[in-house]
């Protein structure tokens, strides 16, 4: 089975974390899994919109789009972690309010990164009337580096990636704003996959999450639970599509 992973981390990191997980999943389901790389998020979007992946780990907005385009179905999601976008600035930049960012350039990973970009830009615009000039820099690490190097005044990311950043960088930055929380990234499956195998995959991932949590925490998905369409239906009413790229 072909497996896709949203490239919000470096390919090397994704390969390191996903390979042992897929090996274990393959043993439990008696099925082989092949990881397909994506150079960047636009390519990833193109891939899942074309139904390239049998199994795919993606952000909630991507899932909404993928479900609509190709009929992808949710399998599992993190049961303990919610997705929350954050806006970071340098501690010594003298910015204490998001209003100071109006009309300024802000770094985001990619247009359709849910927490870091879509949700953040939507809230800034809809809830606070702040329009920023987006600069897309591909990855969350690049966002934090742009802010650290003062190439942009602020950057959008998520709590998890910010906490995983090197102290040398994160110590110089601070979180200026947090978005509302939404359910975290699901693993979705293409409808062409046999429902029996889909159920087996779902059970196996939940089992692995309980018996060998280190494997699922790495991808990352903490305490996997069954994911449903209802978990992500609320995203449809936020107006995210205004800031999304096709």
């Amino acid at each position: 089975m072909s497996v896709g992973v949203v490239p919000q981390f470096q390919q090397r990191h994704i390969l390191e974390k996903w390979t042992p997980f897929l090996n274990e999943l393959g043993q439990q389901t008696q099925c082989s899994y092949s990881l397909i790389g994506s150079a960047n998020i636009p390519e990833f979007e193109k891939q899942f919109k074309n139904g390239l992946f049998d199994l795919v780990y993606m952000n909630p907005y991507h899932f909404v789009v993928a479900a609509e385009k190709e009929g992808y179905m949710p399998v599992v999601r993190s049961g303990s972690k919610m997705l929350q976008g954050i806006l970071v600035v340098r501690k010594d930049a003298g910015i204490d309010s998001i209003t100071k960012l109006d009309g300024r350039e802000v770094a985001f990973p990619s247009p359709n990164a849910l927490g870091a970009s879509l949700l953040m830009r939507t809230e800034l615009s809809v809830l606070h009337g702040i329009q920023v000039i987006p600069k897309y820099v591909t990855t969350h690490n690049s966002v934090y580096l742009h802010v650290f190097k003062e190439l942009t005044l602020a950057g959008g990311g998520i709590e998890r990636s910010f906490n995983g950043e090197k102290p040398q960088i994160s110590d110089e930055l601070m979180v200026l704003y947090r978005t509302q929380k939404v359910n975290a990234h699901p693993i979705a499956i293409h409808p062409r996959i046999n429902p029996l195998l889909r159920d087996e995959i779902q059970k196996s991932i939940i089992r692995i999450s309980k018996t060998t949590p280190v494997l699922t925490e790495g991808i990352p998905m903490r305490e996997a639970v069954i994911a449903t369409f209802e978990d992500y239906s609320a995203l449809s009413g936020l107006g995210l599509e205004r800031f999304a790229a096709d």
Binding site: Q10, K135, V137, N141, S142, L145, H146, L151, Q168, I169
Partner: protein, 341 residues
């Protein structure tokens, strides 16, 4: 005779070799090595410049997509793979630092530490700049270490071979020549039996053999000379003994002649008889004296001459001499006389 150290074969042979070795080592260290390091450094600098060009090309797509994290991952790996790249910095078109996290000041270039600049271009458009500080001190240090190692090996092997050669020279030449010298000194004191060094089948062996033959020939010649001398001494002794015996035998009748002459002188009446008898007496005495002289010569040759210190009557001796030769002078009508002055 003692020999100065500078005159020994060892010094004459090995001093030039040691000096040559030192000159060679000094040449390698102070002339060849700096030149070789310079060539290597320039060669490495050219390679590094090319590599930097490739890195700059590789960074282009990452810069265009603002993939700063990938730039960090890539350049971190590049730096990790090139320990001599002590600093690598990337700037955007506006001159803002992109890499590394904390940019250090670019040091001034010197021979071993060089700052290389490359513009990052897309077509004619300049999108950034990459700066590399390349430190080739380690390369120079490694070069020095290698040469130090090679020179150490060379000097070690050379010293060992020198010791071996000194040992061989000593055992093959110096020891036998010194022994031969001692034998030659013994020869000076007449010792022909001093033991020679062992015979060998090389040049030194030939020298020893020639020396032995010469010594044997000299000994033979010496023995012949001694034998000839002894024979001559014996012949001389026989001659002396004969003279001594003959003189002794002649003295006895001469003593008789003198006694009878004394008796005749007592009875002679005429003056002419007395004068003739006196001449006979004087001639006899002279002959006796000559015989005594012959005896003295025999004693000299026999080593038995003894001198008697006695008073001599010079006037009487002269008068005797005149009386002895007066008749001969008169016969030849010469005038013989004594005049006091």
């Amino acid at each position: 005779m003692r020999m100065a150290l500078r005159d020994t074969i060892s010094i004459k042979l090995f001093l030039p070799v040691i000096l040559g070795n030192l000159i060679f080592s000094a040449f390698v260290y102070f002339s060849w090595l700096p030149s070789a390091i310079k060539i290597s450094v320039e060669s490495v600098a050219v390679q590094v410049d090319r590599t930097l060009g490739s890195v700059a090309e590789g960074v282009v797509p990452l810069l265009l997509q603002n993939q700063l994290s990938n730039i960090y991952d890539t350049l971190d790996l590049v730096k990790q793979g090139n320990p001599s790249w002590i600093d690598l910095q990337v700037f955007n078109a506006q001159g803002q630092s992109l890499y590394p996290l904390v940019a250090k000041e670019i040091p001034e270039s010197n021979f071993l530490v060089r700052a290389l600049n490359r513009e990052i271009m897309v077509g004619d458009k300049r999108i950034g700049k990459i700066v590399l500080v390349h430190d080739m001190t380690a390369l120079s240090h490694d070069f020095h270490q290698q040469i130090d190692y090679l020179l150490s090996i060379f000097i070690g092997v050379f010293s060992f071979l020198l010791l071996v050669m000194i040992f061989i020279l000593r055992s093959v030449i110096i020891v036998p020549v010194t022994a031969l010298t001692k034998v030659a000194k013994q020869l000076k004191f007449g010792n022909f039996a001093a033991p020679l060094p062992l015979e060998r089948h090389d040049e030194i062996g030939l020298l020893i053999a020639c020396f032995r033959d010469s010594r044997d020939a000299l000994l033979k010649s010496r023995n012949e000379l001694v034998s000839a001398r002894d024979e001559a001494d014996a012949a001389n002794m026989a001659k002396s003994n004969f003279l001594a015996n003959m003189s002794h035998e002649l003295r006895t009748p001469m003593t008789g002649v003198l006694g009878i002459t004394d008796l005749l002188l007592e009875d002679a009446t005429s003056k002419s008889e007395r004068k003739l008898l006196h001449a006979i007496h004087q001639s006899g005495r002279r002959l006796l004296s000559t015989l005594n002289d012959v005896l003295d010569i025999s004693k000299i040759e026999a080593g038995g001459l003894e001198l008697d210190i006695v008073q001599v009557d010079i006037e009487r001796n002269i008068s005797d001499m005149v009386d002895l030769f007066q008749p001969i002078a008169e016969k030849k009508e010469d005038i013989l006389g004594v005049r006091e002055t």
